[in-house]
């Protein structure tokens, strides 16, 4: 029915699609974490992308630096995710939250996180060097379905980030702390009235978002490289996903993440990888011009 070339093209396209889906799932996780922090604390975290790298570097330290012997990525997740939580919690509690008591705290927090981003980038360079690092694949090998070939790595990345997203959604809707997080996002004054410690929720929210983006870093650094100065670009990517999906819309963010992941993969396949970021900015510009509230945002 089809010529051989068409069939080959189809296989190749399915490959690109899978890569796009697995990247997209990580973007979704990252965008969700970003929306969470902004929605709850009303402050923008410019160091967000550097926590992505922090996840990557922590994992690298364990697996390569210390020569991890057992457990592989399971051990990494068990060790690194709580570390990320601790770092995020401490940063909110000791660096960001003191600023919240001052007038003009939004700008102060913005400046602080910008400084933090610069600090972390340079810290990574000093500690790990400017050379790019890479992580081994979480699972080697390929899955053959008929003539289609999928790498286990892509499947694992997709499943793990999707699992992370579902766990996050479940926690938000079904646990007391999750309810408290939503309460603070919807009405901080009301949250105080019912006896929620808002400061603790802010810190927990920041910590959870750090875990989410750091987890994304561990996953995606297996396919890309860990680059000490890539934090800014990653933050921008998470932000474009959020803006394209609609600020504050969780569903919009998820849809946007997959669209962007797939778009990036296809643009990379057709024009070359470096065009991905250009496509990203064209999409952002288009969104801002045509539909500034984003795909599913509520508008002004």
């Amino acid at each position: 029915m089809f010529s051989e070339d068409t069939v080959l093209l189809l296989y190749e396209m399915s490959d690109v699609l899978i890569a796009g889906l697995s990247n997209g799932s990580v973007y979704a996780l990252m965008a969700l974490g970003m929306t969470l922090v902004y929605g709850v604390t009303k402050a923008f975290n410019f160091a967000y992308g550097d926590f992505f790298n922090m996840g990557g570097y922590f994992a690298w330290m364990l697996i390569i630096g210390l020569g991890l012997q057992f457990g592989g990525y399971v051990t990494i997740f068990i060790v690194v995710l709580p570390m990320l939580f601790g770092v995020g919690y401490a940063m909110e509690k000791f660096l960001i939250s003191p600023l919240r008591k001052r007038a003009d705290w939004e700008n102060r927090i913005m400046m602080l996180t910008l400084g933090l981003a610069l600090f972390l980038t340079n810290l990574y360079m000093v500690v790990f060097g400017v050379k790019l690092k890479s992580l081994p694949a979480i699972l080697d090998g390929i899955l053959e379905v008929g003539e289609f070939v999928f790498s286990y790595q892509d499947i694992m990345i997709f499943c793990l980030s999707l699992g992370g997203i579902l766990l996050f959604g479940w926690t938000l809707n079904n646990t007391r702390t999750g309810m408290a997080v939503r309460a603070v996002a919807q009405n901080p004054a009301g949250a105080k009235i019912v006896g929620i410690n808002i400061g603790r929720i802010f810190a927990a929210t920041f910590a959870i978002s750090t875990v989410m983006v750091g987890f994304g870093g561990i996953l995606l650094s297996q396919k890309l490289f860990i680059n000490p100065s890539s934090g800014g670009a990653i933050m921008v990517k998470a932000w474009v996903v959020t803006a394209f999906g609609g600020m504050g819309s969780i569903r919009g963010g998820l849809v946007a993440a997959f669209i962007i992941g797939i778009m990036e993969a296809f643009v990379g396949w057709i024009f070359g990888m470096s065009y991905g970021i250009i496509a990203l900015f064209i999409l952002l510009l288009g969104t801002l011009i045509i539909r500034p509230q984003g795909l599913m945002g509520k508008g002004e």
Binding site: N187, G190, K192, V194
Partner: protein
């Protein structure tokens, strides 16, 4: 139960409360009357730990709690019911109520308090899945009071519960407050203008320009010419 001594409260540059002293005994309903913007809400918020800056003494069961955080005060049994309700707009009635039982002291009693609240407000029971932002003013007010009750409070500070309600609903709200009080909950109530206070209040304070200008029984209040004219609409 609550003794406020020489309480001062500030909002930014404004000195809102000036050496205010009041006391509420266990089981009482105490009403604070006063014109708008003279510090009534601030007094309630100060007692519940929600005012911006306060000095003086607030004793709850003989412990000074002026430095205690709002969440710890909720855990002691002191709960504020806001005039503007402060509900969680995108959550359902049930979720709002469950969050009302967020404090540790309330968690073990969540189930029985839910039943109690639904007994008190059958209309809420019929709408547990409704989103708070879609409720009418009267229903939202009931939900706010109900959420306050979920905290298993010993002491409720209720801020102008009748504001903006039609007369029939007002009566309903006051009857509910009476019922709540009969169940043993001490109540401090802020109102601007209520002819009904005489049957409700054990004691009446008048707060004008941040100072207490009258303190007495409901009977004394209803006999006071000045109060009659200004606050009681008689």
């Amino acid at each position: 139960m609550i003794r406020v001594k020489k309480l001062n409260a500030y909002y930014g540059q404004f000195h809102v409360l000036n050496d205010v002293s009041i006391s509420v005994e266990k089981g009482q309903v105490v009403v604070i009357l006063g014109p708008n913007g003279h510090g009534k809400s601030t007094l309630l918020k100060a007692i519940c730990g929600l005012a911006e800056k306060t000095t003086g003494k607030i004793c709850f069961n003989d412990n000074n709690i002026i430095e205690t955080s709002s969440e710890k005060r909720v855990n002691l049994g002191i709960t504020y019911v806001a005039e503007n309700r402060e509900l969680f707009p995108h959550m359902t009635v049930l979720e709002n109520l469950k969050l009302g039982a967020y404090a540790k002291r309330a968690r073990p009693h969540e189930k029985q308090n839910l039943e109690m609240v639904f007994d008190l407000f059958p209309r809420l029971a019929a709408r547990i899945k409704q989103v708070a932002s879609t409720m009418s003013g009267g229903e939202a007010r009931m939900l706010a009071i109900a959420r306050g009750l979920m905290s298993n409070a010993e002491f409720l500070a209720i801020d102008e519960p009748s504001l903006g309600l039609q007369p029939s609903l007002r009566t309903e709200v006051f009857n509910t407050i009476k019922t709540i009080n009969e169940q043993g909950i001490t109540i401090l109530l802020v109102e601007q203008n209520i002819p009904q206070i005489s049957e409700l209040a054990s004691k009446v304070y008048v707060l004008e320009e941040g100072q207490i200008t009258f303190a007495g029984s409901a009977l004394e209040a209803t006999n006071d010419e000045h109060l009659k004219e200004i606050f009681l609409g008689m």
